[in-house]
């Protein structure tokens, strides 16, 4: 421990954080790998979008299924988990002024994930592993399809333990003082706990499936596979949720000098995730045979919706903390002046806030409604699904990660953002694409269109079926949104590459970002300390926004039950 010299660190002049060089390199490596895989995943996504447009129909069915499998694995797993590793190292080492634990193991994490991702990718490209991301047996993929995923998961698991080790070191060496972990790091810890459970479950199902494919196990029960696989597949989305919410809090702090409205409430909400979020995996099994209603209801309500409650809380406290900070800084008039005067031209803020809106109104509302046991019958495996989860993982997670990237390029890579004009626009273009994609696909799904379908026309079939024209039109509109999303994605990648390789260097000791004062400091200095807020609410504007979300959710919930009540009687 005594070998750690001050020269292993540099001090960020804006945040005052002590940045450990090895930790910084690891953040760079993981974030960069993430962006490369986002580019690959996005490319395959564009292929899917262009095939689903009836006017274009780019790919033949076999190639379409290959693209869809590659898109799912690379965009949903590889890009996101690589970025999450970067986030864990950043909130563990950087935010705590600490060195990173066992850098060699951290490099093992990196290389195992690279090798694993490439192995699975190669298996898909070879053409005999188009089994979709979910790879339900008895469909068979090549053995190295599963082996690659296993190596990737082991790498991620190592990363989780490096993060935990870093927390232990930081506490022992008192790098962040005597108090509690910062809220953002607490969020990272929540993500890490969920990740460990998730990855262990993934191993529990992927290892036997691999052994089945190499002939050592004779049979994988399709129901057992789905139950265990989804405990991995859905839970990994919960890691994303927790990580991007931590990023929301981080950016509220970085851009506005905001602190949580209440540490107790925000941390309590993270704790609810640890306790109840995992149960939600059962959403995927609502129309499966052999599982009882009481088991389904207990789990899919996250034990009486306690994890939904946690998301509703964060949905209020994040913008609420921004509103309080703005009001403390003097923007204390009206309901929404604080929001209007927010830095909408700063992509760090705009991408973060669009992520909040997209995740809440699109991903969140629909997620709650579709996971009702009975409503699920209308939605299971329709286009509604990709509509919904692009609302969570694209509009929510990916956009939040983009926001974080914009902040981190100057801090971590010590380069100024290149193509700054593009960066201003990019979050809006990307979100326009992802919002319209999600909403239109959910419309198409409500009209019955099935997901994972290479040709929605059923052309030339004796028992052919024509979807309602409105549904087909919705799909076309959605895929135009998909193309817009791809444009926004390409812009993002060009901005990152141009900044990292060609951006103006920020010399040691110069500020990567303008200094932001803590809202509390400004408030303490102000001459007449007025009470902030309106009608006895410190964050009245946010409360109104939350009530709009609430009304949307209630209305949408009952519209779906109305629709449900018109179909065939089922019992």
């Amino acid at each position: 421990m005594t070998t750690i010299a001050m020269s292993d660190f540099r001090v960020d002049p804006v945040s005052g954080l002590k940045i450990h060089n090895q930790a910084n390199t690891l953040v760079k490596a993981n974030a960069f790998a993430a962006v490369v895989f986002l580019m690959i995943g996005g490319f395959f996504g564009l292929g899917v979008a262009l095939t689903r447009m009836p006017e274009v129909q780019l790919l033949k069915p076999e190639m379409f299924y290959l693209f869809l499998t590659a898109h799912g694995i690379v965009a949903l797993m590889v890009w996101i988990i690589f970025f999450e590793m970067a986030v864990l190292y950043f909130v563990g080492a950087h935010l705590l002024n600490s060195r990173i634990a066992t850098p060699r193991w951290a490099w093992a994490q990196f290389w195992l994930m690279v090798i694993g991702a490439l192995m699975t990718f190669v298996a898909i490209m070879q053409g005999n592993s188009s089994v979709m991301m979910t790879s339900y047996p008895p469909l068979e993929a090549a053995p190295h399809f599963y082996l690659g995923l296993i190596l990737f998961a082991v790498g991620a698991l190592i990363g989780c333990f490096v993060f935990l080790g870093t927390l232990v070191i930081a506490k022992e060496e008192k790098t962040y003082g005597e108090g509690s972990l910062p809220l953002v790091t607490f969020g990272g810890l929540t993500a890490c706990v969920i990740a460990i459970f998730t990855i262990a479950t993934g191993a529990l199902i992927l290892i036997p499936t691999f052994l089945w494919r190499v002939g050592l196990i004779s049979h994988i029960d399709p129901m057992m596979y789905r139950v265990v696989w989804w405990a991995f597949g859905h839970s990994s989305q919960q890691i994303n949720v927790v990580t991007h919410i931590s990023i929301w809090y981080l950016i509220a702090g970085l851009v506005f000098g905001a602190k949580p409205m209440s540490e107790k409430v925000s941390r309590g909400a993270f704790l609810l995730y640890i306790l109840f979020l995992q149960l939600g995996s059962v959403h995927h099994l609502l129309s499966d045979p052999g599982l009882s209603s009481s088991w389904k209801i207990f789990n899919t309500s996250y034990m009486i919706y306690l994890a939904v409650l946690a998301s509703l809380i964060h949905g209020l406290t994040v913008p609420g903390s921004i509103e309080v900070a703005q009001r403390k800084k003097g923007i204390n008039t009206g309901l929404f002046t604080w929001l209007r005067k927010a830095p909408w031209g700063n992509p760090v803020f705009s991408a973060m806030f669009l992520s909040l809106i997209g995740f809440g109104f699109i991903g969140g509302v629909t997620g709650v409604v579709m996971s009702v046991e009975q409503i699920n019958v209308l939605i299971h495996n329709t286009m509604y699904l990709p509509g919904h989860f692009h609302g969570t993982v694209v509009s929510g997670t990916t956009t939040a990660f983009m926001a974080a990237t914009y902040y981190l390029i100057p801090v971590v890579f010590q380069r100024k953002l290149a193509l700054a004009g593009w960066a201003k626009l990019q979050p809006y273009i990307y979100s326009l694409g992802s919002f319209s994609f999600s909403i239109a696909l959910m419309g198409a799904g409500t009209m019955g269109l099935q997901r994972r379908q290479a040709d929605i026309t059923y052309a030339g079939q004796a028992l052919g079926y024509q979807y309602p024209e409105l549904g087909k039109a919705m799909l076309s509109i959605g895929e135009i949104g998909g193309v817009i999303m791809a444009v926004g994605g390409v812009m993002f990648i060009l901005i990152v590459l141009a900044s990292v390789f060609g951006g103006e260097r920020i010399p040691e000791g110069s500020a990567p970002w303008p200094k932001v004062e803590d809202a509390d400091v400004v408030y303490a200095r102000s001459e007449h300390k007025k009470h902030i807020g309106l009608f006895g609410f410190e964050a009245p504007g946010t409360f109104v926004l939350a009530m709009i979300l609430f009304a949307t959710l209630v209305l949408y919930y009952f519209i779906n039950f109305k629709y449900l009540s018109t179909i065939w009687t089922l019992s």
Binding site: Y249, E373, E538
Partner: protein, 185 residues
Amino acid sequence: MGTSYTTPTNPDWGREPIERTEIMWITIAFAWCLFMFGWMVSWHWIGNQNMRNEAYRTTPEAYAQKLADQQTKYTIRNDVASGEPVVAPPPGGDVYIAGMQWQWRPILELQKGKSYRVHISSLDVDHGFSLQPENINFQAYPGYEQVITMTPNKAGTYAILCGEYCGGGDTAGHQTMLGRIYVKE
């Protein structure tokens, strides 16, 4: 003093009071959560669209035998569109249908307003039973047989599509997997 990414300035943050905005929202949100939970349970009594979750273990061979027996007993005619047999089991009884690469069979004829115990299974890989344009969707996989009592409330021609990717090539595959149910008055 302090932000979301620094250590809480008040070490005793657990005792800080919670501000009204948060208290009100948590109360409303929690009440709605309780309502949603209650409603999902209640729909089993007040609603007409529920899954009873009756299911049995089976094998593709045993299930295929049931399909064959049903076809021998209840075939009423050959379908105009495809030339294949149309099966019309009596109302109130068991109806067997299976997903297989790449079709849903048999073609069924049911009567409006009558109830049927519809058995759904698969003979090979995972499939999705998707009845259109009603938009009723169930998962099906080999080795398990799910029973759902269905009562068609409208007459007409219905398609069964496949909602789960189930393999195949360019000419025949998941995207060509279809079945049909006729509902007569």
